[in-house]
């Protein structure tokens, strides 16, 4: 099975951008609030199913993208405010509660819709020829939007007052409090942004793969690898980590064996944790 290098290249670029969107949210929640959110994959699933239900109700796919983001963001805030915030000082409870919450989301969709894969149509139809290889237009659109989102997030965090408040809180909660930043507001905002990004990524993933109750697991696991590789809490590291991981994963799948999908990323995770746990672009974690 000869796969054109162009296809592999497009896949790497696309999945890298998509994983980066998921991983940035994951790393934001950890870097700012100190919460390792194991329900992050489930937020992605929520976004994907929202899109599926809306499309079935006759709404065009591109309209479902922001709606799915909002639904996932709401779910994330409910999860944080209703539960995780109250146990935030106990990392063990946070890990178990968020994991169980994620499982509940999976199980709910499993009961409602069953395990069979569901289809969400692409945002746009058709394809274009790139260097003699047909590439779905949908993939290019998803790639472009993902990068727009990442760019917007960079601008937001680095250039606006609110974004700087988020950065400040992640650097030092006490310092941020001293200059009058309301930490609680910042945490909630982080959850809105992160969960919203996960929901949008869920729709994107749904448009060129399928919707299943367990679809959030692989992105969650890859997010681990990505953020640990890039340094837990570093946005720039997440983007670079996402590209390294998606490159490695695609190379493994295309040229070694499809049965090893996802495994190479996890192997990288374990190696990085053992050799350089602070990650490639690691920085000091929050002082809590």
């Amino acid at each position: 099975m000869a796969v054109s290098p162009v296809t592999v290249g497009v896949n790497v670029l696309l999945l890298g951008a998509l994983y980066a969107v998921v991983a940035i949210g994951f790393t934001l929640i950890f870097g700012v609030g100190g919460i390792l959110n194991l329900a992050h994959g489930a937020l992605l699933t929520v976004g994907a199913y929202t899109a599926y239900y809306l499309v079935n109700a006759g709404i065009p796919v591109w309209v479902t993208v922001p709606i799915a983001g909002i639904v996932a963001a709401t779910t994330g805030v409910v999860l944080y405010k209703g539960m995780l915030k109250k146990v935030a000082d106990n990392p063990v409870s946070v890990l178990i509660l968020s994991l169980v919450a994620g499982l509940i989301v999976e199980q709910v969709f499993l009961v409602l819709e069953g395990a069979q894969p569901l289809v969400v149509p692409g945002i746009v139809d058709g394809g274009v020829a790139v260097l003699g290889t047909d590439i779905e237009l949908n993939r290019l659109i998803v790639f472009a939007i993902s990068w727009l989102v990442i760019g917007a997030l960079f601008l937001f965090v680095n250039e606006t007052k609110t974004g700087q408040a988020i950065l400040a809180t992640s650097m030092s909660r006490k310092g941020a409090a001293l200059v009058g930043i309301d930490a609680d507001r910042v945490f909630t905002l982080t959850w809105v942004v992160a969960a919203g990004l996960a929901g949008i990524a869920g729709v994107f993933l749904a448009t060129f793969q399928t919707v299943t109750p367990l679809m959030g697991r692989t992105p969650l696991l890859l997010s681990f690898s990505i953020v640990v590789l890039g340094g837990l809490g570093s946005i720039r590291g997440s983007v670079i980590g996402a590209y390294l991981i998606s490159f490695l994963d695609q190379i493994t799948v295309q040229y070694v064996s499809t049965r090893l999908a996802g495994v190479s990323g996890l192997v990288v995770l374990v190696i990085v944790l053992l050799v350089r746990p602070e990650g490639l672009f690691g920085r000091e974690l929050t002082e809590g």
Partner: protein
Amino acid sequence: MGGETSEAPTADEEFEERTLTDILDPRGFGWLTRLGLFGLLLLAVLPALQGYGFLGIVVNSTLLANITGAMFFAVFAMSWDMQSGYTGEISFGHGLFFGVGGYASAILQAQMGLDLLVTIPLGMFAAGIAGLLIGFPSLRLQGPYFSLITLVTPIIIIGLFRFAPDVTGGATGLFTETLTTGAVEGYVVALALFLGALVLFLAITRSDAGIVLTAIREDELAVEAAGLNPAKFKLFSFVLSGLVGGLAGALFVHTYAGGFVAPSDLLALVVSIEVIIASIIGGIGTITGAAIGGLFLFLFRVYIAQVDLTVPVIGVPIGEIYFLLFTVVTLVVLFFIPEGVITRILVRTRQRAAAREEEDGGGGGGGPDLATDGGWTEGEPSNLERIVATFTEQLRAVLPGFGDDP
């Protein structure tokens, strides 16, 4: 079970006067301990009661097989509790140990034709070595890294198994020999493992090592300040838990599972999560809670699948959504009764007994039971204070002059 009230080391002065005979004297047991011992006795004599029925439950080979599986599952849960429940370093992939134990034994038997009496211990040691390989580097790191590594290693192993289906049987599984033939024989093996693991874990967690492990969960810095290396104790509990989990996995494959090893039985994420759920419902950091939670969860799962009841509104059979029910129950338990159901009952009974004793004018009461209720009880003196105090006491006994002014 429920024996910690009288067996646990206590920090007060009475401790020195209690001899082993005192501790083992059944007259001194609380009613919960007696209930637990009665339960164990019932488990032991159950095979002899075949054909009889109690309260509508008939003892037959199906029941024995179900309880066999439940006892294996309880050992899985206890091995998780021994490590994660006590040290607070949560392992999300204890299925790794069960899987490595079961697969190592099965592969050695099926591919190399070794005898089961050789492969089962080898499976156990393979799991212990896996624990060493994973624990040695990752337990030194602060933060959630240990949980992350344990979460992904079983997934990597499943991926590798799928990559080499000729040797491992891939995603479907691998056939191998069985150790036992009848339901009773399997039951006896499981019972021996269950009792052995229970006694071993209770003995260790109620010893000085158990106090150190609980102290690590409460405050690792305090343990370091006392001059002990937390990483060493954490690794000890992880490897020990791996050895027992691996043995349980290997025996499970060759008895209850009928000589068939599959990723979904041992390695899958669901297995690791169910083990955690069982321990949480029973009570983390108690061993007995994990044992009861494990027995309960397994039997509940088996019997709910047979219930012919459909949930109204959504019209789904209740047997299909048992995992959803369990996750929701776990969430509620974890949020509202974080110390677990068994622990809550124990603490309540003990408080009531202490109150009664006070009314009778008898002072003393039960000493702080560090190994069972560490960190979870509200309205009692800080566990950290008690742990550090106990700890200093214990160290003074071992190292004369510790803590004194130079």
